[in-house]
Subunit: 435 residues, 2 copies
């Protein structure tokens, strides 16, 4: 068995092999859905009482009262104090860069006045209150706290509520420190579907929010899908992916490590390299084989590369870019000279890493743009998390007397054609009243 | 029984009465879901063949072949020719205004260069292909075709595919004419869950799209929810709503007719007036009683106003605005002098109609802003349909050699704290390679 799949776009079986490689569907387990529905119903009916029960059951954490669901300021202070200085400094430096980029994304209100005095516009407002889900245990990533919380803060969200499970009562200090750095207002030690339900519907202790963001396991994803409509949610993410296009002039060890940096996330993660240089692909395969040995997460990397990784030979960079657009990857690394001149040809990608110095890992942590990105080809229709996701638009229409006559006459014709006579009469009153 | 409910914000029972009035939840019928799942599965497995079968069954339209699923250019030409000139002119005039407003919404790509030469940016691209669902029969609204199609066109979507069921083979000429005016590329005579499934997964005849927008019945809504993730969807809309805040100085007949213009949509539609002038509320009640008699859709209006309509007395305009923010209405009419000075106090509303000349009906048809708006309080976290919904963002990161050193050092600290060692090594290579 190869350590990573080898494909050639010129082979007759290429299309079906690629399709198989890219195929990923989340397992729709009705057992999960039933559990989640039960949990949500219990939280809606019994609030804090049910929340304490589920936390005792799923996280093996018995709390004396609902008040204890929230981290105290003193607890957070202590976690910050325990965080190494250089790590705290790195979190703060990353936060500055993430904020600076987010500031550029802010939507601003605008309006314009027409010749007859009618004003049209769009008013931008932040969401009132946002809930941020942070996984507990192994997959607790402080960088995720920054990436989810900072855009909300920059958008002007009034209150930012974080939930993070603490299995067996164990909290992650760095996650709490990241929450402090990002400006999270309140933190509750809850997780799973019960935390999502509490955020969506509110309990006596946990306030109801307007939108829930952040990654989670399959129960969390199912709960977010279930409460969608009552509140807003961010995307439901699939496994992480990287697609690298190289001309063959980047150090093969660098490329191998970039592939690993996705593969180490998850056995289902996807890492693909496309190059017109077949010999370069051989050299990368050699680097992969050699370097994987010393990787602390070698087992995960091996499984991911064997199941969902590939080195793909193509005719030229044009063909590589066409393939990239077809795949619509979460992360697209353009590791070749002059890549910046071909950006306009990239139609679908979550984030684009331009040139050989731009390791995807830099974007994951501190370049500035968000690391919450559309996966599984959804970059065809969706976007990175951003300030936009925490702002909303209201249309503004202010007709002058003259404007209401002109628009009213038009509206009467259209409303009557649709059989909506009250619409027509409502418009006609303004026409007649201003003539 | 009152023709419309009367509430006073000062009454002890007000909060619970308001809650009851606003309460609306779509009926989650498992029968509907089962039917929809079966239909989607059949379209995925048998494509056009299943599409023809469902169209024969649900729309009572037997087509000779899959080719006949598409309207021909000649059929559309004929529909346009049958459309009255003044109606065609009104559609075109409305389209010009909707386009002009949409142009202001277009997101533009941007980038900035940091001191060390690192470039960060955001690249905007349109969706490749969009599907527009248009209901058939009674609720076929040409204005909806314009409102859904034009923002997609302005965004630069390459292909716009419309589906519209033709029960018993009857097509709506004005809907086809509106599609022509809006620049729709292809139109298929299909509807229901089968049309949504065909757009999401594609058949030999109907191309797979990246996003599906447009209103539909409960089967269409359930199908959109089911294919969400495979493709993007717009919001799932509830019944239409209007909330009017008046100081009591607008003609009560105007206000009554504005309430009707929502109520006539649907027996579940919601029409609420809030005013600090109790005598004015009496006068509006009198107008409602008198004017409803001559309304062609009087029965629908009566049911909607009795079940979900209200005239609410408040202390002053401040209290009215606070209530409006709590309700987060789809349409908010501010029918009082100086309303434009209080816009910044409005935190949640789909569209705001400012001043007594701005009948909501003008916005429904031709003012310019979209009439597809968040309902049922979802204006707390979502926005009107717009060009944004047909564009997407890709983050751009291009590190200079120096930039990759600075960012790499930061990334190493953060990646190691998360136990992601390949991330750290990938960053470290750039640090070492550029020192």
């Amino acid at each position: 068995m190869n350590i990573i799949n080898r494909l050639n776009a010129a082979d007759p079986g290429f299309r079906s092999a690629l399709k198989k490689l890219l195929d990923w569907t989340s397992v729709a387990d009705t057992g999960v859905q039933t559990t989640v529905d039960t949990v949500i119903q219990a939280i809606r009916e019994r609030g804090d009482e049910a929340l304490l029960e589920f936390t005792a059951k799923f996280d093996r954490l018995a709390l004396p009262s609902a008040e204890a669901l929230a981290f105290t300021e003193a607890e957070i202070d202590a976690a910050v104090a325990r965080t190494p200085d250089n790590l705290l400094a790195a979190l703060e430096a990353a936060a500055v860069r993430i904020s600076a980029y987010a500031e550029r994304q802010k939507m601003q209100s605008w309006s314009y006045t027409e010749a007859d005095g009618t004003v049209l516009g769009q008013q931008i407002t932040p969401l009132d209150r946002v809930g941020l889900y942070v996984p507990g245990g192994k997959a607790a990533y402080p960088s995720s706290v920054l990436m989810n919380a900072i855009p909300a803060r920059v958008a002007g969200v009034r209150e930012l509520v974080m939930v993070v499970p603490t299995p067996d009562g164990v909290a992650n200090d760095t996650v709490l420190a990241a929450a402090r750095v990002a400006g999270v207002d309140r933190i509750f030690r809850i997780g799973g579907a019960q935390a999502v339900a509490a955020l969506a519907y509110g309990t006596a202790t946990v306030p109801a929010v307007d939108k829930i963001v952040g990654p989670g396991n399959i129960y969390v994803a199912a709960a977010k899908r279930a409460v969608f409509g009552k509140v807003g949610i961010d995307m439901i993410a699939g496994p992480s992916e990287i697609l690298i296009v190289s001309d063959g002039l980047t150090d093969p060890d660098w490329i191998a490590m970039d592939l690993f940096s996705q593969a180490e996330h998850d056995q289902q993660a996807q890492a693909i390299l496309i190059s017109p240089d077949a010999q370069f692909l051989d050299r990368v395969a050699e680097s992969v084989t050699r370097l994987v040995e010393s990787q602390p997460r070698a087992d995960i990397i091996r499984t991911a590369l064997a199941d969902r990784g590939a080195l793909i030979a193509v005719k030229n960079l044009d063909e590589a870019i066409a393939l990239a657009n077809e795949i619509a990857p979460e992360h697209l690394e353009l590791s070749f000279a002059g890549a910046e001149n071909r950006l306009s040809e990239i139609r679908h990608a979550g984030a684009i890493f331009v040139g050989k110095y731009t390791a995807e890992a830099l974007g994951d942590y501190c370049a500035g743009p968000n690391h919450v990105l559309p996966t599984s080809g959804t970059a065809r229709f969706s976007s990175p998390l951003g300030v936009y996701d925490f702002q909303k638009r209201s249309s503004i229409i202010q007709c002058s007397a003259a404007g209401s006559v002109a628009l009213g006459e038009l509206a009467v014709v259209l409303a009557e054609s649709e059989g909506l006579y009250a619409h027509a009469q409502s418009a006609r009153y303004r026409v007649e009243g201003n003539r």
